[in-house]
């Protein structure tokens, strides 16, 4: 077995073409850094590292990025009053919140600073809003306001008549979490990072110089390892002999309502936690739907994202405390996400006690989505402290190539696009008005969609009120053609999740 550095590998590739030198089977590639986990945390770490002259590989066991917690969460950019002052959660939330506007522009991610409201239903509890405000001030947010019922109703005409006051945080917002993850990872890849999907980490050893990673796609070696494995980050730590923390999955169920109901609220509506429960949020989504959830249930199975009738009922009933007119007839889908709650109560970010070249970025539950860009910076800094040389690249490009979906073009732009490529004139998903060109582009982009759900996350085809009833046959056909695989091999979400078994005739 030989160990081949990546910079060398690229040169080797040229040699291979010339026939001088062949990368032999069994050759192991040595990366400067491997990031385990292609969720939003891993994506921002990779993006941060791609600013430097480093060879970086991101691996993930799933068939797409953002397949764990990053895919199914509240999609909120938190203001940062919630976390206990001085904790990583507080510091990174505030920093991430401040970064998000620029990040969303660089990465072409839908982000709206809608503001948030923590609604309180009893006059006796208003002091708790004041306490939250003080906590926020300690965390460095100076624009929080406790508002009375009248102003609240002006801002949110559909709020419950029982609401008496609210804490208003203008800097909170909503974002598309998988667009954020996908685009951050694509930007990293476009700046030289590598991404291997369906590549599960199964074992870690360290020879004093480098980590040797066993994966389902062979052996990989690296000088530094970043553990951003979300729900499974304790398993990854354990592979390296580190049992310093545990991840306890906590399930949250959500319901998503049709766009007709998207304007029921204008901002993110939280409920003041009471002894009866933590409450659920009701929020518009960047795409104009309405989201309600989550409840919270500690579970054991880290792959159990099933919804339950009890959980969904709880979400609906509790959501109606703040927005009584929430109509269950508007529900187009429901889903559950698992929070990767760490055993310390705070984010677990830092070098492993067993090896300082293993950096954990674990226990990233809420406000992890908001904090992700800040976590990226912090992890790069930690790697530097552990001895990794960070040499800035002159050619790092923070911008992602913007793709404008047909439906968002002006009439003249759209007409131009149709002239160049008639696929822009063929609507495939009628509910969301997604064209064939949009779908083809989602398959051909830097991190291309490989299955129907991945197309859906990238384009919204199948995300609308018919939930793919009309468009999935066409999407399957396009995937089959673009990927050069038979229709029977096109899946919903990788693995055995096929749609069609065999020809009828």
């Amino acid at each position: 077995m030989r160990r081949v550095g990546v910079a060398l590998k690229q040169k080797l590739y040229a040699f291979v073409l010339c026939g001088f030198f062949i990368l032999r089977e069994g050759d192991v590639v040595l990366y400067d850094v491997v990031v385990a986990g292609a969720g939003v945390t891993g994506a921002f770490i990779a993006r941060e590292l791609s600013k430097y002259r480093l060879s970086v590989l991101v691996i993930d066991k799933e068939s797409d990025v953002a397949m764990g917690t990053s895919k199914a969460n509240s999609a909120i950019v938190h203001a940062g009053y919630d976390a206990v002052p001085g904790t990583l959660k507080a510091v990174l939330n505030i920093r991430g919140n401040k970064m998000m506007k620029r990040i969303s522009e660089e990465l072409d991610v839908s982000f709206k600073m809608t503001g948030s409201l923590v609604v309180c239903f009893s006059k006796d509890d208003i002091f708790e809003l004041e306490e939250l405000k003080i906590r926020g001030l300690k965390n460095g947010i100076d624009d929080l306001e406790v508002i009375g019922a009248e102003r609240l109703r002006e801002m949110e005409p559909n709020i419950s008549p029982n609401a008496v006051a609210a804490l208003y945080a203008p800097s909170a917002g909503i974002i598309c979490p998988y667009e954020l993850t996908l685009h951050a990872m694509e930007n990293a890849v476009e700046n030289g990072a590598e991404l291997k999907l369906e590549c599960e980490l199964t074992g870690i050893s360290y020879d004093g110089d480098a980590f040797r990673l066993e994966t389902t796609k062979g052996i990989v070696e690296c000088r530094y390892l970043v553990n951003a494995a979300g729900l499974y980050s304790d398993t990854v730590a354990e592979m390296a002999g580190d049992r310093s923390f545990r991840i306890n999955p906590r399930k949250g169920e959500y319901v998503l309502l049709d766009k007709v109901y998207g304007s029921l609220v204008n901002s993110v509506i939280f409920q003041l936690p009471t002894d009866k429960g933590k409450g659920v949020l009701v929020a518009p989504t960047v795409d104009g739907n309405l989201l309600a959830g989550p409840n919270a249930e500690d579970i054991h199975d880290k792959s159990d994202t099933s919804t339950t009738s009890r959980g969904l009922l709880e979400v609906i009933n509790v959501a109606r405390l703040s927005v009584p007119s929430l109509d269950t007839r508007g529900i187009i889908t429901s889903f559950a996400g698992l929070r990767a709650a760490g055993s310390t109560g705070d984010f677990i970010i830092g070098p492993s006690p067993v090896n300082k070249k293993l950096i954990h970025a674990a226990g990233i539950e809420s406000p992890g989505l908001t904090a992700a860009p800040a976590i990226g910076e912090m992890v790069a800094d930690l790697l530097k402290k552990s001895g990794l040389k960070l040499e800035e690249k002159s050619d790092f490009c923070p911008f992602i190539e913007k793709y404008i979906p047909s439906r968002k073009m002006s009439e003249s732009q759209w007409n131009e696009a149709v002239k160049k490529d008639p696929a822009h004139g063929r609507i495939v998903c009628r509910c969301e008005k997604i064209t064939e060109a949009d779908i083809v582009s989602s398959i051909r982009r830097t991190i291309g969609a490989r299955n129907v759900d991945a197309v859906k996350r990238r384009t919204r085809a199948g995300m609308g009120r018919c939930q793919g009833g009309f468009c999935s046959p066409r999407v399957i056909e396009i995937l089959s053609k673009e990927l050069g695989i038979p229709l029977e091999e096109v899946t919903k979400a990788g693995g055995k999740s096929v749609f069609l078994l065999k020809k009828t005739k």
Partner: protein, 128 residues
């Protein structure tokens, strides 16, 4: 060999439950119907039940992979599965037009299987 057969009449939404007493192959009595269409239905179902079978047949070189077909007339119910075997064995070349005979004299019933849809030839290049 006397036996009883229970049927739900399909002629109207009332759905009368009809009881037919059979003596071998002959009907000795029919009960439970509310109109005379019920008697006719029960008689036919007990002596010679028939069904129209619809399915699809494979098409070569068509813009669609299959063409819908039907038995031109109802065939005896007991022949449904044999009919499906015939249908599944078939392959026609595009273009196919409504009414085209796909299988002549199906299983010696004197009934044809005909196309019920149009499938033009595939265009040269993979247009959509």
């Amino acid at each position: 060999m006397p036996g009883k057969k229970k049927l739900v009449c399909i002629n109207c939404p009332v759905g009368c439950l009809i009881e037919v007493t059979l003596n071998g192959d002959t009907i000795s009595s029919i009960n439970g119907y509310k109109c005379k269409r019920g008697i006719e239905y029960a008689r036919a179902e007990c002596t010679n039940p028939v069904r129209i079978v619809t399915s699809t047949v494979k098409v070569k070189n068509g813009c669609l992979p299959v063409v819908p077909v039907k038995t031109e007339k109802p065939i005896p119910k007991r022949l449904i599965w044999d009919c499906m075997k015939e249908i599944n064995r078939c392959c026609v070349k595009a273009p196919v037009k409504i009414g085209d005979v796909i299988v002549e004299n199906l299983l010696d019933t004197g009934i044809n299987i005909v196309a019920t849809g149009n499938v033009p030839e595939a265009r040269e290049k993979n247009g959509s």
